[in-house]
Symmetry: C2
Subunit: 95 residues, 2 copies
Amino acid sequence: MIGVIATLKVQEGKNAEFEAIFTELAKQVRANEKGNLAYALTKSRTDPLIYKVLELYTDQDALTAHGQTEYFKAAGPKMGPCLGGRPEIEYLDGV
Amino acid sequence: MIGVIATLKVQEGKNAEFEAIFTELAKQVRANEKGNLAYALTKSRTDPLIYKVLELYTDQDALTAHGQTEYFKAAGPKMGPCLGGRPEIEYLDGV
């Protein structure tokens, strides 16, 4: 199993637009990726501009496949204008 | 939905003992808590003493119930001697 914590910072005033784009992406991930076990968009309780995506995959193949989907590749350019910096991605190994 | 990222630091030489205790806890959480959607123990790729638990709950009631289970309350004293400091717990609101 592999875990991912993706931290995304949005620009002020862009929360709703970002959430709409990301929610649509998450729906596609959950509907289409057998190897994805969780893909949960959450927001910080202390900084309203910070989101964290909690992701779980069965293995590296599943994570690689996720990054190669058309909808994932399309989501980057869509949400880019909402973001206030580069996403931070932390990869974690399941125990 | 509520997300939790629990960051746990273990003492050197305590990894195996910690993992055994936590894995047993995680099994009980997944087997007994309808409101728990994920409870994944992962370890850092950059610091071998750091673990992160990625947790998802349906709502606050489910998270509260988790903290009140006998096995959760019993796990603290068991894993305490393995830890190298207080756990850091981040609560996140599902979007």
